[in-house]
Assembly symmetry: C2
Homo-oligomer: 321 residues x 2
Amino acid sequence: MAGGGEFGFIRTRLAPLAGGHPAALDLTDDAAVLDPEPGHQLVIASDMLVAGVHFLETDAPEIAAERCVRSNLSDLAAMGAQPLGYLSSIAWPAGVSERWRDGLVAGLAKAQNAFGLCLLGGDTTVGPGPLTISLTMLGQVPSGTALLRRGAEAGDDVWVSGTIGDARLGLDIARGILAADPALLERYHRPTPRLALGQRLRGLASACLDISDGLIADAGHIAELNGVRIELQSSQIPLSPSAVAAVKAGQIDLAGLVTGGDDYELFFCAPASRREIVHGLAASLGLPLTRIGAVITGQGVALLDSEGGAIETGSGGFTHF
Amino acid sequence: MAGGGEFGFIRTRLAPLAGGHPAALDLTDDAAVLDPEPGHQLVIASDMLVAGVHFLETDAPEIAAERCVRSNLSDLAAMGAQPLGYLSSIAWPAGVSERWRDGLVAGLAKAQNAFGLCLLGGDTTVGPGPLTISLTMLGQVPSGTALLRRGAEAGDDVWVSGTIGDARLGLDIARGILAADPALLERYHRPTPRLALGQRLRGLASACLDISDGLIADAGHIAELNGVRIELQSSQIPLSPSAVAAVKAGQIDLAGLVTGGDDYELFFCAPASRREIVHGLAASLGLPLTRIGAVITGQGVALLDSEGGAIETGSGGFTHF
């Protein structure tokens, strides 16, 4: 019957991404049918990324697609979940070439293969607007163990994984504002969802999220939700050598790094009594985990200099809105 | 912190749609955390609808949102699933008014309340393109009972629920091509997902889908997937009084009705031995279920006139691609 167009694309290009996963039903049905493991809860995150807003219109479709899968996985990492698979809904601009569409599929394939995932379902359409990718990532946690944003208490330590601000610099490189630096560009194009860390933080972190709006803004989400104040020590914010060099060269200041979005590192709080366990976890994962501040009574977020004075960070974070 | 924009909208407008459902975590987290019932499989359907493609750019946001939820629910109906909740990802055009956005929320609220659903998560953004709504509907079935498109066999009866072609006429009314008829317009704007029917068809239907691409095209999906031929009797296609009147008035012919999309009725196959049970089900649900043809060996779909000749239906269905 309707052999061309949408159906043909699903059958020839997307169905291979299902990889025979039983939940995907070869992408021939109206929905996916998934078996969560007994004793587990399902964790579901939907993300919508629009060309010109969440990635550059000039980004290759491979890169846009890969970045979408990775950033959507980061939401699962923040919940401590193990990913099970994903659904993709894609609207692409009219008139794109087959090569362009194949690039999009190649990006999905690359990202899902990096994390052992299968495509379980979704939708494709042509729209009058820019490329729009909406993904729904499915994962699971043992019942009752999901990491939440709620739970931080005065007295908790504040931690982040990896380094902060690299993606902001990578974005400036992608935009042609800064000179090329492959490591920074990679951090923007191909963020690493901290999945193993998230799963190991279950029962250890009191609150967790992934940094997508910028360190200061996301710390603010935790502070507001928990009715607490978060004080961050500027000297402790972990920066990559490239970011340190960019600050030295006057290309950006610390305020720019901590308010840039898209780090996709985990920000978490944990009781001070668990400090050694967190350090041990960093060693075992080979991933820097840095204690950057503390939760105290009060409200708001402050970034403090070495004398305890507040550093002005401006609007507090990147919002796509 | 970031009190305005996206966060403010989620907190003040979308969070009430979560209705305190435990899986939604008040929409303050990175993902929803859902408990499927033991012994059940999760059923997940993602749908993306774009203004100007899947609904009219002139449609009020209430109507677009309501239609999206209802058509997404229809995918669950087709799988025999009981809905559990949904996630919404919305990109709206820059510069829309608060009233317009409130209309969108009102449409979601109206649809979810009609089916006892809660919003469990999602994403909102402003894009340079038209209004784009991507929904992910979550449901469950007792393990192993999901209705699939695969399973039809030669000898099966072919059935449809309700009446065919009304939404196509409703679309023509919405476009101003046909004179207003509230019943037909309603069928286009506010399709009824056949959820109760789908759940009752578990263990009864051999294959099932919801008619979104048009009766002939969707019958074609079943024929192709199962390697069978489907013959439909034109005299048996159930038409509403309004559709009969439109045919008599020369506004449309049968081919137009059976290739129009968006019926959101269920198309299913069942062994001939279950015929009386299906009739009983129709009576018990108060929903017409009409036997419109048969599955036979061969391939393709034919719409037959009273003398057994094939009626030309053109391209075979509506595709958004």
